[in-house]
Amino acid sequence: MGESRRGPRAVWAVGGGKGGTGKTLIASNMAICLAKRGHKVLLVDADVGGANLHTCLGIERPKYTLGAFFQGNHGDLTDYMEETGVANLLLVSGTLDYPVRGPKVRDMNRLRNALRRAQVDYVILDIGSGSAQTTMELFLMASLGVYVIVPEPTSIENTYRFLKEAIYWTLVKSTRKRSVKSALNRAFHVGKIEDFQPVPELLKHLGRTEPLVSRILRSNLESFQVRLVLNQVRRYEDVEVGFSVRSAVHKYFGLKVDYSGYINFDERVIQCVRSRQSLLQSYPESNAAKCIENLTQRLLSQGQLAFDFF
């Protein structure tokens, strides 16, 4: 792939509302999968406060980190990338040495611009859990947001909270009008959960007083693409949970998201984490590895898991 291209074909963010759902595992192995297919891939550990992508790739002490990028004045990420032992795969490690308060707006803008200019085919961003503003900004920096859930009520509860915030920030960032911003804030952050006004109706109401703004918001929301991924599937029925969540998101928020795939629970995943190796390299034939390959394929081809998935 030539150096002449301006930037990556796509930036994928991998997020999930809860810790321990497998974001890092999925981000690192999807990156390896893309690299094995011959794409040049940059993996960025943007999990502020919980960075450990380097460990998953068997790197004990990263040479450079995202924290150093934030503290420096360079507009280019190239100086902070290191080789990983996997051909075509570069890593920018996490923020070991970064102040705990988290990155500022200026840092985020610099990162966004640097990612846009990165001379690779794909960028994969591993973002932290929770739905704080920084996490949201990182998630929305991507052209595709991969959201990892596990079939447990707590994870699903966090999913809805996360999506609500993600929609909110997408809308708020699309406008400069104070009145619209505060209207959005009222609509998203007050009232009982069952009284939440779904997005299409919200935009319709807004359109009566602010037709132009409403149209911009709508088009920005249409480019907001979320792909659900279900991890730690132990039983056949678990796979269905992804369809249920997709349906509930549509009926509740009025937002269509894709269900891109699931990953089977696999003891070997735990072994990999302990031995600081990646699944796709250590156990390429394992069930979970195959699931990640299928998932990556579906993300590339914009496909969804079919109802006749068996």
Binding site: P151, E152, P153, I156, E157, Y160, I193, E194, F196, P198, P200, E201, V233, R234, R235, Y236, E237, D238, V239, E240, V241, F243, S244, V245, R246, S247, A248, H250, K251, Y252, F253, G254, G261, Y262, N264, F265, N287, K290, C291, N294, Q297, R298, S301, Q302, G303, Q304, A306, F307, D308, F309, F310
Partner: protein, 221 residues
Amino acid sequence: MIELGTLNPYEILDVDPRATVAEIKRAFQIALKTYGPGHMATAGLFTEEQREEILNKVHEAYNVLMDPERRGHWDEILRQKGLYPLEAEQHLRLAAADTALPIPPKPRGLERHSVQDPKLQEEREQRVRELLAAAEQRGEWTGALLRQVREIRSVSLEEIAQRTKIGRGHLRSIEEDSYDFLPPDVYVKGFLSQIAKVLGLDSSKVASRIMEHIRKIRGPR
């Protein structure tokens, strides 16, 4: 909650307008669970009344989509509004669905032999894959192959006739590889592609392979 009246039956069941009857049945089963009491995906999100309202719509949508005439009526409305997906996208979707997925482990201590039994399902899919691989290897793509796949997936001839609007006589002729009374090639190819689609096979590939076979036997028409 979204205004349910604004959704078409496909949106209510979260299926693609090109979904097969089997897919719609699956989607219906999953929707009944999803909006039934105490499901983790909906428990904290909807009130009981809202869930009931959705369930009513789910039943209504299912009945509409199971009736070929009423489904056809909706398809027409969607086409007029430009909301029916284009053929070009269909190939993309089928190609994406073609990559075989590993099966999640079977629940332990549960012996079930219903349609949903994953082990049975996997065995079926395995047989379909073997059939297709054998046909490819021998270069023998016949109408009988379609019958075998149909029986493995337990789809009735009636269901195919309803979904494709192809006459039962023609369907039988194709499945029995008796091509003499079939219409000219262009029609037959269309039939093959539609049947393959309902059966969840790669329609363009299957149709052109079987068509080659028919032409070899009866000569081009």
